[in-house]
């Protein structure tokens, strides 16, 4: 099947826009993806390492509050703590706005989609007051620079990110025989298990409980502190070699290199190739992808040692990618992002500096749609099955948002017939064309177009 610019923008990008022409070819999409990140620079989100001093300050403020000697000192400390919290929250809301502006205005929608895909694959959620609102900076630093690079590099980046080490308890894992354990502390196998099950080999992969345990021992030493961020502490590491999937890593002296070697092997393992290929096919093409598509992606992954740009190229080259049948449902982030894009939103339309309005317009509605930003229910991330998203209660939130948010964001709305072309192109289904004409108000007409399966599927 031939390349279709509109389908390319809907299925692999951020949706149609009245001001931006869709990509002209798969080669053009790849060229944009491998060039510098324009949208990222125009709408910045702080990387995690820039965020860390603020988190450290927040932690200090909490300690000061706890240790304050007088009522006055406690009040001051409380005030300071609250200020810091408000700043962090407002920053996070602005960054959410920037993430949506990237989707609304980019010419490289594929990069936004891949960033979301890999952020989900490597889910790390900020838990507790210090770590909440750290999700987007984590993605900015560990995920986004690698979406067209090598999987092994992304894997190394996420496994050494403080948010991941915190979320999956790695910083609390001590080699039982390490000097730092002092006979009191020991292993925690949470990260090791999810690394094998979710991040690389897959739940049906060829590993055993013994591999999980050995991997957990090998990972000891990965930790962070609030001043330097990630550090490798050899004194926390379990001495001696560990055997994972039949390969022995490390020796008498523990170093980060041994962990890198194991991660590199996992990254190029055949089970990992299939696991990643299947996930990409499911996410972008169909909940039930053809074996041919999975084989093609697995083969390219294997040939190139996990070069993600090459795998995406193979995806765009496969006939399944251009099947005109819309077989997937947009996740809430894609639904809202593509709606903002079709609505031709510009930065002044979003209440970037107003935390309360950002929550009312975007954050809480997304939570009601089942996708609170950066906070999936578990380390396996968001569901892919369409039926998980289109439940009556979650769909109700999408419908309600579609009916009211466009007007509240833009005030002057386009005519529904004009919006129909912007959002769906000239070939919209007849009932949607009819609804665009028959709606009683502009807001209602636009809401129904956004609510239509033609807009919500890709």
């Amino acid at each position: 099947m031939p390349f279709d610019p509109q389908l390319a923008e809907i299925r692999f990008g951020c949706g149609l826009s009245p001001r931006l022409t869709p990509p002209e070819s798969a080669a053009g999409m790849m060229a944009r993806l491998t060039r510098p990140d324009d949208a990222g620079q125009t709408y910045p989100i702080a990387p995690f390492s820039a965020r860390l001093p603020q988190l450290a300050a927040l932690q200090r403020a909490r300690r000061d509050r706890r240790k304050a000697k007088s009522d006055a000192a406690r009040r001051d400390a409380e005030e300071h703590y609250k200020d810091l919290r408000r700043t962090l929250r407002t920053d996070a809301a602005r960054w959410t706005g920037h993430a949506f502006l990237r989707r609304a205005l980019t010419r490289d929608g594929l990069r936004e989609r891949l960033t979301a895909f890999w952020a989900d694959h490597f889910t790390a959620r900020g838990v507790g007051q210090i770590w909440s609102y750290a999700h987007l900076p984590y993605v900015e630093e560990a995920i986004r620079p690698h979406v067209a690079g090598r999987f092994a590099d992304m894997l190394r980046a996420v496994i050494t990110q403080p948010l991941m080490l915190s979320y999956l308890d790695q910083y609390r894992s001590f080699g039982p025989d390490s000097p730092a354990a002092k006979g009191k502390r020991g292993l925690n196998e949470n990260l090791a298990r999810e690394l094998l099950e979710l991040h690389t080999l897959g739940a049906d992969g060829p590993y055993t409980q013994t591999d999980v345990r050995q991997m957990a021992e090998l990972l000891t030493g990965l930790t962070f502190d609030m001043k330097r961020g990630f550090v490798f502490r050899a004194d926390m590491a379990e001495p001696g070699p560990e055997t994972v999937l039949g390969i022995s890593y490390g020796g008498p002296g523990a170093t980060l290199d041994h962990i890198h070697a194991a991660l590199d092997d996992l990254a190029t393992h055949p089970a990992t190739a299939t696991h990643i290929a299947r996930k990409l096919a499911v996410h972008f093409v169909s909940d039930a992808p053809t074996p041919s598509l999975i084989r093609a992606l697995t083969a390219r992954y294997t040939e190139t040692g996990g070069d993600l740009a090459a795998v995406i190229e193979a995806l765009l080259a496969h006939p399944d990618a251009w099947s005109p049948e819309m077989r997937n449902v947009k996740q809430p982030v894609d639904f809202v992002g593509s709606a903002l894009r079709a609505l031709d939103l510009v930065p002044r339309h979003l209440p970037l500096g107003n935390l309360r309005r950002m929550q009312n317009m975007l954050l809480t509605p997304m939570a009601l749609m089942g996708q609170p930003m950066g906070a999936p229910p578990g380390p396996d991330g968001w569901p892919e099955d369409d039926a998980d998203w289109i439940t009556p209660q979650r769909l109700a939130a999408r419908l309600q948002w579609a009916m009211s948010a466009p007007f509240q964001l833009r005030r002057t709305l386009p005519r529904p017939e004009t919006f129909l072309i912007a959002a769906l192109g000239p070939d919209a289904p007849e009932p949607v064309k009819f609804a665009a004409r028959a709606a009683e108000s502009r807001a209602e007409g636009i809401g129904i177009i956004l609510a239509s399966p033609a807009f919500q599927r890709f």
Binding site: N188, T364, G378, D388, I390, S404, A443, I448, P453, A454
Partner: protein
Amino acid sequence: MTLTRRQMLGRSAALGCCLAANPLVTPVTLASAPSDNRLVVIILRGGLDGLDMVQPRGDADFSALRPGMPNAKDLDGFFALHDGLSPLYPLWQEGQLGFAHAVSTPYRDRRSHFDGQDMLEAGTGMEAIGHSRSGWLNRALAHLPGADARTAYAIGRADMLLTRGAAPVANWAPDAALTLSSQAELLLERVMHDDPLFRDATLEAIALSATDLGSTADAATSGDMMNAMSESVRAARKGAQPETIARFAATQLRAETRLAAFSLGGFDTHSRQDRSLLRALGPLATTILTLQAELGAAIWERTTIVAVTEFGRTARLNGSGGTDHGTAGAMLLAGGAVRGGRVITDWPGLAETDLYQRRDLRPTRDLRAHLGWLLAGLYGLNRTTLETEVFPGLDMGADPRLIL
């Protein structure tokens, strides 16, 4: 794809019926309900540590595995109740709270939350991982004479495999709301018509928001539609508190609903379990007490609450004061209909050689057998049906007589 009520709603749409013919808005008489007994299934997500919830203090090996455990309320001289559930102790004294210990699904060795939860909800064996399209609660429903779209309710935002399948189940969340003008409603039905997934979810959303929340589905103006989002945002701000879910469930159970299901999270306690489990058990206790208060004495007498989790955790504490993924755990039973005041178990012991793979509490009974006997006791489902269709391949064993 979720079939079931969707399918059924789809069929009525295909016949040219409209909202009025939707089974959810057609009044259901109580006489047509299969039974007056209520069953509430709570899925505890994350792998609850049964050894901490119901502590085998009488086992000589317990204190070595779990040094420094704070005091817990003695239950029967052998087991003691975690402090986080102490608000439920009066129920224990009245015989309305019980536990089954050392139970698990047939899930073994992989210890993945996601597969473990799928198996728990599917009610099948290991072979069905990744292939299950229906849950045991839904399959049970198919065998209840007179069951209809309101008999079972899945509550909360997340879809649950437990309630998916061929029988109709209502899905709704207490903070979901939908206000549409009548013109918008007609146009939506039209644009959704050819897409069964969207069409059926839309019809159900319109029907349930109209009947459950007392809000009119027929907004006079598009201004009302605008305000509706703000209202649901306000409701959501207050958060999906366990009280909210429990109150919503109780409202349904006081009406036509006989089976309700929802989930609670926070049980994945890899570190500092002393703090994290306390935080997770609190909402469970609140949920049960809210259900008791909201259902009223007469319905509470006919109510059974069962809380189950995908697997237990390691018998030993790990190096960071938590536990890792394990095998057998415990289930909780509560309600006026329960023959409680006891911990039902074939206790396997905690000596290292007694542990499963020298690591986890050894399962001595399939937790599905208890669920099966509950369904038999509450709704008269026969054993053959339970062992072949609801829980395929299960041997239910002896009847633990869970229901009064």
